[in-house]
Amino acid sequence: MATYLEFIQQNEERDGVRFSWNVWPSSRLEATRMVVPLACLLTPLKERPDLPPVQYEPVLCSRPTCKAILNPLCQVDYRAKLWACNFCFQRNQFPPAYAGISEVNQPAELMPQFSTIEYRGAPSPLIFLYVVDTCLEDDDLQALKESLQMSLSLLPPDALVGLITFGRMVQVHELSCEGISKSYVFRGTKDLTAKQIQVSVQLPQERPSVSTRFLQPIHKIDMNLTDLLGELQRDPWPVPQGKRPLRSTGVALSIAVGLLEGTFPNTGARIMLFTGGPPTQGPGMVVGDELKVPIRSWHDIEKDNARFMKKATKHYEMLANRTAANGHCIDIYACALDQTGLLEMKCCPNLTGGYMVMGDSFNTSLFKQTFQRIFSKDFNGNFRMAFGATLEVKTSRELKVAGAIGPCVSLNVKGPCVSENELGVGGTSQWKICGLDPTTTLGIYFEVVNQHNAPIPQGGRGAIQFVTHYQHSSTQRRIRVTTVARNWADVQSQLKHIEAAFDQEAAAVLMARLGVFRAESEEGPDVLRWLDRQLIRLFMFHLRRSPFLQVFNNSPDESSYYRHHFARQDLTQSLIMIQPILEDPRRSLTVLQPVLLDSSSILADRILLMDTFFQIVIYLGETIAQWRKAGYQDMPEYENFKHLLQAPLDDAQEILQARFPMPRYIHTEHGGSQARFLLSKVNPSQTHNNLYTHNNLYAWGQETGAPILTDDVSLQVFMDHLKKLAVSSAC
């Protein structure tokens, strides 16, 4: 038998699932003692080039409360043409179409290698609705217009597109008119219901989608829209000195939501909001237009000084919920030097599975390439996006599902497998994920409910079925079914097994998600305390210092941004986020070698490459920087040095190519202001506090790394402390 490592890897490859425990403790009591909950990271649409969808409907269990889908784990009686549901043990007849099945003639869904299978359904259109802020600087607006025009060529040709622009007012553009461009204008200060919007834009009351002039197939209005975008003017209303432009983001978004709600409910649609600053008026305003009043900071929020935050958050939450209910998703592309209100708006992408992209300007490659990457295609030439998914989780009787954490909303479907304890978004066995891509990953948490005194028979297996209905980017509706099973084990007798089957990485990420989920809703210190309590035996030093839990030095928007991505990326990326990778290309000239993420690694003669997921930092040590300044790299005799300088660049490029969203790329050197990105991440084994107390007074600047100006404790101290605690608690 393969090692657990291989097993885990295989499973991940095939099903997109990683469990914290791969052998499950057989009773509630034991499971609770294990601290790390039984949970998994599920990537519902994991790319499976080898998995062509089957062309028929799935076979369902006939028990109304179950409706599990026929899977390889089911017991099948080929003669009687019966199958037993492995979740509820209901015996079901095969449908007539399956009359010909036998042991040798099995349908795909019964073959073990098809523990994940995809069914195909009816097509429905894809919709892209651009919501564009026009209160931008000319450069920015120009860049944005170009990006948008470019994107038209990337869209599926039969996708419907729509355009809403906003500034002080909100304009909904009609795309089908010749000779004159027509738009409906709304005041930016007044929210409207979907009904009012429909009336306002004069959509017919019945079957409004039939004649919608606002959403047109891209191939029909390509030219029109290109011209329209070309003629977009900056918001013409004068912005007096000392004021922010009036930006009606809240209403614009509301209108976009309302428009789709009225015309294409339950059809895959992506609302793409491009904004260059905070909403400053109307519902959803985040800050007033007086420049002298800065946008809220964490400090203000803690002091309860953020006047608009609650109201705005409520507004966007309402929108997000409506959008989710309609099966649409909202992306936010916010490019500004200051905050743009992501804190308040985060729920829109978070609840609907939309993207959140944060940058300094639309005129940066960060934005341009990120945006472009949204329309990248997979090996089949399909867009890497899916819409309007519902994820249903079914469990065998010993298990119940406690909740999910990820870009989803609850569908509030109670059932026999729903736990009363909630972890993340719980109380349901179904979730809606309005927008997802092949990397979208949810953390799903389970509870073992088997009582200690009712042992599971030896060799028993627990099963979980994940059923994802979604709209594929090719416009087809599809159903992907993943059925997994794991062995039960008695902790007393099989502790070894269980330990060996522990997936540390998955567990770390799952715990981190729980932590972040709590951080979103609770006070920071409480969460840290909770985490410390939970993880006393887990060494999650870096998570503790990460921006997902620490808000120090981050704006509320940044925190929101980081947490957004943390909650949807897959395991690998999540790990990078928790513990950035620091590499030193000098160890071997071709391959970067990881080094300790510690201040002691920051040496004068080093080149370092740090990847935090959000930033890629290339750092040149003091000596290297001097060499470079001296121009050695240009001298033929120091070609070696040139390669040395080039290596991290190539590597960074590689990462940049693959990652979404594009990370911020930072090239800095010793003493550079941008070096702070590196310094803030490393373990502060040397700080201004202990620089002198440890005996390395004279060592600094030579081989001992750089001191970090922080009051945080170093990993060493943290560990010491932990040890002390562990001992004391043991008593």
Binding site: Q171, C177, G179, I180, S181, V185, K190, V199, E231, P236
Partner: protein, 1094 residues
């Protein structure tokens, strides 16, 4: 007699007054009067001649004239006595220049006709009396017959007048509708009614009269009449006055009844005495019997107002006044033209009465504002408020600050005082003007308004000459002219910023009706070229005005027509509940820069909405949008709204159809004139604050509630145009012509007008299209050359004769190029301590302008009946005061009118019977509201022709003579069925074709061979190459050119259905809606006066 009274005074008419007296006598005194006649005549003649002769000069003239006899040829003969006026009248009317008497018979059937046989007529006759008694009689007889013929009524009229029996009881019963009925029916009655009562006695009395009487059956009736009733009733009753009359004509008065009864035979005090007596009687009788004037009023509207009252009781003699014998507007106008049209009117002299508005004259500004800018009801103001109260003559000025001038006259000079701005009095803030007195060698000046002494700033200092005048007086417009402009400094600008050039926004209804009628297409096509003719200032090559476009139905569509765009952008705003402007840049553009985009837009608008099914519209949000757009652009401007229907879509300012004809003649009638909601006033206020003027073009197919829709235009100095049942084929010319004119005319924006006066009087009330947020400043979002503001003054102290009274009207406005300016008009008036001076310097046209506006405003708050009564009372008081204080003593039976006001009754009657105050069955509520608001900003010339239309015979004068033919009086009697006439009142234009017009004429004008082939209702005359056709079309064009609105031509054939419409404009006749004829009204007025006097 006459002479005495006014004698010297009245310049023009000099003695005219007497005339009246004469008239009076004649009429009432009836025949008896005839005896009296002689005197009147004499007077009359005197006056007449005087009148005519009298040249321009004011006062001086009068005497002379009086002296001088019969300028008027016709009159000449009769000339003397009271007749005078009548005589004139006759002459004027003068179909026949011949002797008055003669005319009578011929021309006016009715005249004498009236029932009241003899009696009443005699009175009339009197004037003629002397000469041709017999003739008169005959005439009368004839009249009677006619009357009879016309309406069997006569007898009825008898009733009215007090048919015998009735009389007796009558007093009680008067009111009989009987009269009424009769009245209306028979034309005849009119006179009779009026006078009836009175007359009877007279007849009997006067010797001559007797003669009449005899002939007339009247005699007999008389008796019956005699009944007490007579008196009062006939005149309508000045109930109150009764006491008075008693006193005055005691003798008879007492006896009245008796006399009456006594009738013919006995009575007869001297004729002279008779008259009085008669009158008295009347008074007496009436008084008691009927209600006071008020009654009059009331009945009027309802039925034949006075007719009825008087009628019943008095059997009176249906005598009839000779229409030719009563003052004729036509004659007055012609005389003034002849006398004053030839020389320029020089404004240097204080208190000069200018020529009539109907006279074509040039003005030379020598220190007072031209009458084109300011006209006053009187140029001689009583020194004290007591006098003013006594006279009851409203003191008002009709001001048209931006009036257009004929090309021969220079527009006001612009004075630039640089940084310091215009020089003003420190205390009252009056602007420097020619009346300011420089003292102390020129170092100071005394304000002519408040007497404050001010320092002359050094840079303005100038030495004085030996007369105390600045030596540079003639170099400075503000020291030598009545009208001039100052460039305003930044202190005079809103927010202390010089204004941006204004903008025009075209807001076009594109609902189903507008599209279907072809309006949208027509308008868009027209705008393409019209935009090249936006008003520009001086020699500017290009107008500074920017334009913007909005279309709407129940939502609004704004257009971005920025020059850099390849195609226009349309922005739809459907949130009409909370209007806003969706764009800033690109909405208001310079025409030449954005021409291509604008043209493209105007091409597309009709296409875009060609298939519209939207029938609902909004209105208030449209104005709101325009106003917000101007606010956003921080400029003033004008909205041109083209609207078709009642705004019933859900939005602010939504209206419901509340047209209810049942309300007419009830106390609730006023609600028809009031706006439905206060929302429009609020909106208007905001518009005014922004300098947003609204011009409204309405194209209704049904009720649109003009009363409410016109609130904003009205309060923002805008205009309303209404084209009912608009069809491109029929109405395009009128609409386009109005539109062109409206767009091209020079407008001032964001204006504030302030009228300052000498200490002693004060502007207290203002009428016109504007808004006032306090009691002194007239705020006009926009003001064009057609808009007039009528200002009423009241005393708050004494004036003194030496200084006179000064008016200064200062208008601060933004020109169409965006320049902030002050236009100043100054006018100096005389002050008097003698009432006679007041009456001698009045201008009836202006008075009517004021009274009409006053009455038209009154209908908003009072029942129409009350308004009418008020007018009549005031008029009677004015005339009675004159009679009492200025006229030479004469018999009460004489109606004596001041020369300057002799047309007051006829004009006032026209006001009373206008559709606002007395609607006919075919007049819609919208029409009334429309006219009501039109009149509010009319100038004197417009009200004049509007109330008394011009009726021009086209085929009377030789074809070669292409000048405007002399008008004839607006009465059916004046139409001959062998001629063609043009009638116009500034809004309507009719071509009336007599049934027996020569074929040749028909052929030349209409291009068809016979009368029957002429299309009734035709609105365009064929262009034919012959003299007559050219002349007629030329005349029509000429008339149109004189008016501020295009008059659509309607061809009316005699005896055709359309003739009813036409007849409405024959204002001297009784109207279908119950309006009195001129003659009747005059009689009624006389009665009122007598009651007041007695």
């Amino acid at each position: 007699m006459n002479v005495n009274q006014s004698a010297p005074p009245v310049p023009p008419f000099g003695q005219p007054q007497p005339v009246y007296a004469g008239y009076h006598q004649s009429s009432y005194g009836g025949q008896p009067g005839s005896t009296a006649a002689p005197t009147p005549y004499g007077a009359y003649n005197g006056p007449v001649p005087g009148y005519q002769q009298t040249p321009p000069p004011g006062v001086s003239r009068a005497p002379a004239s009086s002296g001088a006899p019969p300028a008027s040829t016709a009159q000449g003969p009769c000339g003397q006595t009271a007749y005078g006026q009548f005589g004139q009248g006759d002459v004027q009317n003068g179909p026949s220049s011949g002797v008055q008497m003669q005319r009578l018979p011929g021309s006016q059937p009715f005249a004498s006709a009236p029932l009241a046989p003899v009696v009443s007529q005699p009175a009339v006759l009197q004037p003629y009396g002397p000469p041709p008694t017999s003739a008169q009689v005959t005439a009368q007889l004839a009249g009677m017959q006619i009357s009879g013929a016309v309406a069997p009524a006569p007898p009825a009229s008898g009733l009215g007048y007090g048919p015998p029996t009735s009389l007796a009881s009558a007093s009680g019963s008067f009111p009989n509708s009987g009269l009424y009925g009769s009245y209306p029916q028979g034309q005849a009655p009119p006179l009779g009614q009026g006078h009836p009562g009175a007359q009877p006695p007279q007849r009997s009395v006067p010797p001559q009269a007797s003669s009449f009487t005899s002939p007339a059956s009247g005699g007999p009736r008389m008796p019956s009449m005699t009944g007490p009733l007579l008196p009062g009733q006939s005149f309508g009753g000045p109930p109150v006055s009764q006491p008075n009359h008693v006193s005055s004509p005691p003798p008879q008065a007492l006896p009245p009844g008796t006399q009456m009864t006594g009738p013919p035979g006995p009575p007869p005090p001297m004729h002279s005495s008779q008259q009085p007596g008669y009158q008295l009687q009347q008074n007496g009788s009436f008084g008691p019997a009927r209600g006071p004037q008020s009654n009059y009023g009331s009945p009027y509207p309802g039925a034949a107002t006075f007719g009825s009252q008087p009628g019943p009781p008095q059997p009176l003699p249906p005598k009839r006044l000779d229409p030719d014998a009563i003052p004729s507007p036509i004659q007055v106008i012609e005389d003034d033209r002849n006398n004053r049209g030839s020389e320029p009117f020089v404004t240097g002299v204080r208190g000069q009465v200018p020529p009539l508005v109907t006279t074509n004259f040039l003005v030379k500004d020598q220190g007072n504002a031209s009458p084109r800018y300011i006209r006053c009801t009187s140029y001689n103001i009583p020194c004290t408020s007591d006098m003013a109260k006594q006279a009851q003559v409203p003191l008002a000025a009709v001001i048209k600050p931006l009036a257009r001038l004929p090309p021969e006259e220079a527009s006001p000079y612009v004075v630039d005082h640089g940084e310091s701005g215009p020089l003003r009095c420190n205390r009252c803030k009056a602007y420097m003007c020619p009346f300011m007195q420089f003292v102390e060698g020129g170092r100071r000046f005394q304000c002519c308004f408040c007497s404050c002494i001010n320092d002359v700033p050094p840079q303005y200092f100038q030495h004085l000459d030996h007369t105390g005048k600045r030596v540079d007086a003639y170099d400075r417009p503000e020291l030598s002219l009545g009208s001039y402009e100052f460039l305003a400094t930044v202190d005079y600008c809103k927010n202390n910023k010089f204004p941006i050039p204004p903008a025009f926004i075209f807001m076009i209804d594109v609902s189903y009706n507008a599209v279907r009628s072809g309006l949208v297409r027509l308008l868009c096509e027209e705008l393409k070229s019209l935009l090249d003719f936006l008003p520009r200032e001086g020699g500017a090559e290009e107008s500074a005005i920017r334009v913007g476009f909005v279309t709407y139905n129940k939502v609004l569509h704004f257009y971005n027509v920025k020059s850099s765009l390849a195609q226009p952008q349309m922005m739809v705003v459907s949130d009409v509940g909370d209007m806003f402007v969706p764009l800033l840049d690109g909405f208001l553009v310079n025409v030449s820069e954005s021409r291509a985009v604008i043209t493209s837009l105007l091409d597309q608008i009709p296409e875009m909405f060609a298939d519209t099914r939207e029938t609902e519209t909004v209105f208030a949000p449209v104005i709101q949008a325009g106003m917000e757009a101007l606010k956003a652009a921080e400029c003033a401007g004008k909205l041109f709204l083209f609207h078709t229907s009642l705004p019933i879509a859900e939005a602010p300012g939504k209206l419901k159809n509340r047209d209810d004809r049942k309300l007419i003649n009830t106390d609730k009638e006023k609600t028809l004139f009031q706006p439905q909601s206060g929302a429009y006033q609020t909106l208007a206020k905001e518009c005014v604050a922004q300098g947003c003027c609204v011009d409204l073009f309405l194209f209704p197919n049904q009720y649109v509630d003009v009363a409410t829709l016109s609130v904003v235009p009205q309060l923002t100095g805008g205009s309303v145009y209404k084209y009912a049942c608009f069809q491109v084929e029929n109405d395009q010319e009128r609409f386009l012509s109005d539109l062109r004119r409206d767009v091209q005319k020079v407008v001032g924006f964001d204006a504030v007008m302030r009228v300052r006066t000498s200490t002693g009087i004060r502007a207290v009330d203002f009428f016109g299209a504007f808004y006032m947020s306090n009691t002194t400043d007239v705020e006009l979002a926009g003001l064009d050359g057609d808009k007039t503001v009528t200002v009423e003054f009241k005393h708050d102290d004494r004036l003194n004769e030496e200084n006179g009274a000064l008016l200064q009207c200062a208008l601060l406005y933004t020109s169409c190029a965006g320049q902030r300016r002050l236009r100043i008009h100054n006018l100096a008036l005389n002050c008097c301590t003698q009432l006679a001076d007041l009456y001698r310097n009045c201008e009836t046209d202006t008075l009517i302008n004021y009274m009409a506006k006053f009455a038209y405003r009154g209908v908003l708050s009072s029942p129409v009946k009350t308004v009418r009564d008020t007018l009549i009372t005031q008029c009677a008081q004015i005339l009675a005061c004159y009679r009492k204080n200025c006229a030479s003593p004469s018999s009460a039976g004489q109606l004596i009118l001041p020369e300057c006001m002799k047309l007051l009754p006829v004009y006032l009657n026209c006001v009373l019977k206008s559709e606002v105050l007395q609607p006919g069955a075919e007049v819609t509520t919208d029409d009334r509201a429309y006219v009501r608001q039109l009149v509010t900003s009319m100038d004197v010339a417009e009200t004049n022709v509007f109330f008394y239309p011009r009726l021009l015979p086209l085929t009377k004068s030789p074809i070669e003579n292409t000048t405007e033919p002399p008008a004839v009086r607006a009465s059916e009697e004046r139409l001959s069925n062998g001629d063609i006439y043009l009638l116009e009142n500034g809004l309507n234009l009719f071509l009336w074709v007599g049934a027996s017009v020569q074929q040749g004429v028909v052929q030349s004008v209409f291009g068809v061979s016979s009368f029957s082939q002429i299309t009734s209702g035709l609105s365009v005359l064929p262009v034919l190459d012959n003299l007559l056709s050219k002349k007629v079309r030329g005349l029509i064009d000429g008339l149109r050119a004189q008016r501020s609105r295009y008059m659509k031509l309607i061809v009316v054939k005699q005896e055709d259905k359309l003739e009813m419409l036409f007849k409405h404009f024959l204002v001297e006749d009784k109207s279908l809606s119950g309006g009195a004829s001129y003659v009747d009204f005059l009689c009624h007025m006389h009665k009122e006066i007598r009651q007041l006097l007695s």
